[in-house]
Every structure is written in C-alpha cells, then in structure tokens.
Amino acid sequence: MHNLTVAELIKGLKNKDFSSLELTQHYLTRIKSSELNAFISITEDEALSQAKEADKKIKQGDSSILTGIPYAHKDIFCTKGVKTSAGSKMLDSFISPYDATVTKKLNNENMVMLGKTNMDEFAMGSSNENSYFGPVQNPWDVSKVPGGSSGGSAAAVAARLSPLATGTDTGGSIRQPASLCGITGLKPTYGRISRYGMIAYASSLDQAGPMTQNAEDAAIILTAMAGFDKHDSTSANKSVPDYTQCLEDSINGLKIGLPKEFFSEGLDSDVEKVVMQSIKEYESMGAEIKEVSLPNSIHAIPAYYIVAPCECSSNLSRFDGVRYGYRCEDPKDLNDLYLRSRSEGFGEEVKRRIMIGAYALSAGYYDAYYLKAQKVRQLISEDFKKAFNEVDLIMGPVSPSVAFKLGSVKDPVSMYLADIYTLSVNLAGLPGMSIPAGFSGNLPVGLQLIGNHWSEELLLNAAHQFQMRTDWHKHSPAEN
C-alpha cells in the first residue's frame, strides 16, 4: 500500500479498496518503526480522528479528491494546537495558536496530517544536521545526509513513511533534499503559495512547495496549496489552474537550455553523466537542446549569503524570550533576558547567519553588502530573462554531488558552496524542480528543471513526460 502514489491512493479510496483510517494506521505504523528521525512530532491521535472524519465525509459524498489522503507537514508550518518547532530549541515548547494558510488549505480538503517533519533549524542548512532534534538519516544509506533543509520531508517520502510531504525552499531546501533522497520536489514561483504562518527565514526568497514520488502527485498537491492569500502581502493575486490538466501535453519541439556555468569544475562526474543521459532522453522525445549562458550565476553564493542572513537577522529578532518561545532561567535584567534566551535558544548556524546579517546591515556596511548583493541579484535575474528569450526550460544538476556522509562537512563555507546550482533560482523568484534521474552507486541523483515565472504547468508537464519514459521515480530504498 505504501508504494502507491497519491493519484493511486485517491483511486483506491474512491473504489473503497481501503479506508482513510486503514491508510493512516498503515503509515503511522511505518513511521513509528522507522529510525530515520524524519519526524519531530507524530500526531497520531489527531491523525486518527482526521481519518475517521474523512471517511465519514467520503461516505456522505461530501469530499474533495484529497479527502482522506495522509501527508507529512514540515515543522515550519504553524499547526494550531500542535507543536511547531522549526527544528529549534527556541520553539521546542511552542504550540501554535493558529494555522498557516497552507495548513488550513490542506485541512479544508480533509487531508490527514501524520506528523511534523524534521528540518534544519529555521530552514538554515543543506544537510539537516542543524536540527535541535538531531540529524535525519538518508533512507538510501543511513550513514549519509538526506539533504536540507526539508530533509525530514524528503526522507519520509523516499522511505514511504508518507505518500507526500510539504517543504519550503529558500535556497534549494526542497530541490536539494529531493535530489539526495530520489524523490520529486517542486519550488514554485515566489508568491504562488501563501507564506502566512510559515515561519520566516528570508522573506524575499522563502517559498513552499510539494514533495512527492512523481510529477503527477506534485501537480495535484500544488493545485491544493497554491492561491492568493490576503494575509500574505507578497502573495500573488493570480488564478490557480488545475495543474494536472497539462501533464499529458506533447513536449515535441520544447527548447531546453543547458547553462554552461552549471557544467564546470566542481561537478561530480557521475552526477554529470546522469544529467546528460536525462537530457538525451528529452532529446529523444523531440526536445531541442541548446547551450545558454548565465554568467552571473557564479555570484549567487555571495549574493544569497548576504541577502538571506540580512533578512534572517531581521526576521529572527522577534525571538526575544518575551512573547513566546524559549526564555532563559532567572534573567537578572531585560538585557540578560534577551542575551541568554537567544544565545541558549538558537543553534550555532542560526547564530552565525544572524551575526553575518547584523554585520552586513550595520552602519557603514549596508552599501558594500546588502545593496551590492541586491544589484547582483538583479544581474542574476536578467541573465535568466535573456535565457528565457531563447529557451522554454533550463536544465542541469541540482547539487554538485550525491548525498555525503553525516558529519563529514564541518566548515560552513564548504557547505554553502554546495548550494551553487539552486540559489540563483530563488534569487530570481523562479520555479524549479528536482526529479529522480538516475543513480551514482546506490545513491540517487536529481535533474533540475528551471522555468520562467509562472511556468509551473510546463515544468510539471516536462517532468511528467520524462517519468512516463523512465522509472527512476519508482525506485525506493530497501526496507530498513
């Protein structure tokens, strides 16, 4: 049952092959016997009652297509009455008093939340090792990282602990773990999905998206997650198509651009081989392949690691030990309260990024760092604009290597450098996707698809067509 896709589960529920309660119990049993540490909270009682409610609705004929489908929710989305930790000690005891818009939308479909998934603290990290709740193991090889920051979500879908999961992507946090765990992950255009109730890291970059076994499921879930929200001032007032409608379209004549900067030194040769084989597959489907150039994409790392820390140092100033979250013991005065609550509540990487941001925004440095980074961001965005005058989609690797060993990358800068292929997409606000494309040894490799603003339909269409011809997305790690 757990190898079924969301589309198949929808059919199964409709045909009464199983009930939502049976499905939910099945996944809960799997989650409880898993040692991957993919979940921070398992919401068993809530899940069972949601499943019973869903079964009732289905019986009464009062259901939507997603009614009764279980899902895993990244622990960055506020869930009323349920701990929402963002992977931090700071919010270890935070029971959200309200629902994020994404949570509300999935609740309105009467979906069943199995639990909240593990993540890098406040979504800052590329390996899930920055979680206060301990690292997640990659289900393909438990000595390896699952990627981050949505590492728990990616591991949960790959290990079939949940048919789908939510994720968020600020610099690659959906696509990179999707690639490292061999699943499908979509980061939509900035503004497509509401950020309300999604704990903020870098507000001009953060975007939520679905993590699933395949593109068809991603299309179904995106349709449910997307849409305008008056509670999010950066939410786009744009209608939401049914993203499943375009999946079967032919991609004959599709123009695909390969940025030469994405295939230079630093790219693992096995990863390159897998990516090039996938491109050949597209060619055989009638796509036209063309080299393009994104000359400023090499500057994405310094630009991102200024913009994101600046925004995070401002966003995370709200954690002051006064209104919610962690407060230190016996503060002697207000300053001591702030200093110790924050120093004891935040982990090392979060403190590092807050300090980089505080420095870059401090008097006298703003022009040299933040303003300069925003200008570079403009150049990166213009590169994409030029490229999309010539091609429909851009393809390349997601990550320079496959999953690496837990604990093996200790230096923060080396960790940042591995984000090279994903950051520019967030800086430009574009939609991007990772789909399973092959293996290096026993570890999965993802192919990145990048589209122009609002081209989610084309991305999903191209991904689905690839998955009709290949079976990489059907592989799942051996049971452990």
């Binding site: 006064v322 209104r323 503060p331 005065d333 941001g357 505080a358 980074a373 403009q378």
Partner: protein
C-alpha cells in the same frame, strides 16, 4: 575586511547574542572565512543595475484600515513565558 575578536563581540551584542570568551577565537575565524567569500561581491561590476528587492517587482499591497481579526490576546498570552494582568512580564526596567 577582517574582523577582530572585539568587533565580533560588538556584532554579537548588536544581535543580542552572547559569545563566551572560550569560543571567540573560533567564531571570529569562521566569520572571517565567510566574509572573505562575501567580499567577492565587491569585485563584481554591477554598473547601473537597480537593486532588486522583490523577485516579481510587485509593490506592497495596501488594505483597508479596518479591524479584520478577532481579539485573540488570551490565546496568544497563554503561550508566553510570563504574563500578568494582560501584560507580558519582563524583569523590572525602571526601579
């Protein structure tokens, strides 16, 4: 630009973070390492490129100035570390 321990302590204080004396050497080294990566920005010719604050160049949407939410102060204070008489409590600021 290279930071010394004193400057790092100042930055930490700006962000209301404490760095223990035993950790300061390592923190300074790590920040300098990261900043040397960021300093590459200075070498890029950005010409007359406009700073990009929003990926879709959207302007801030305004809403009508009227009450739209219920009073949830009790629920919000229920999760606060310390409250009293409808206020969030902190150590005494003025004697």
């Amino acid at each position: 630009m290279s930071l010394d321990n004193k400057k790092v302590k100042e930055i930490a204080y700006l962000a209301r973070l404490n760095i223990e004396d035993s950790d300061i050497e390592q923190a300074t080294a790590e920040l300098n390492n990261i900043l040397s990566l960021m300093d590459k920005l200075g070498e890029i010719d950005t010409g007359d490129s406009e700073p990009m604050a929003h990926p879709l160049k959207m302007s801030q949407r305004l809403r009508e100035d009227k009450v739209s939410e219920d009073d949830l102060s009790e629920e919000f204070q229920a999760i606060a570390p310390k409250t009293g008489k409808g206020h969030f409590l902190v150590p005494t600021v003025i004697e």
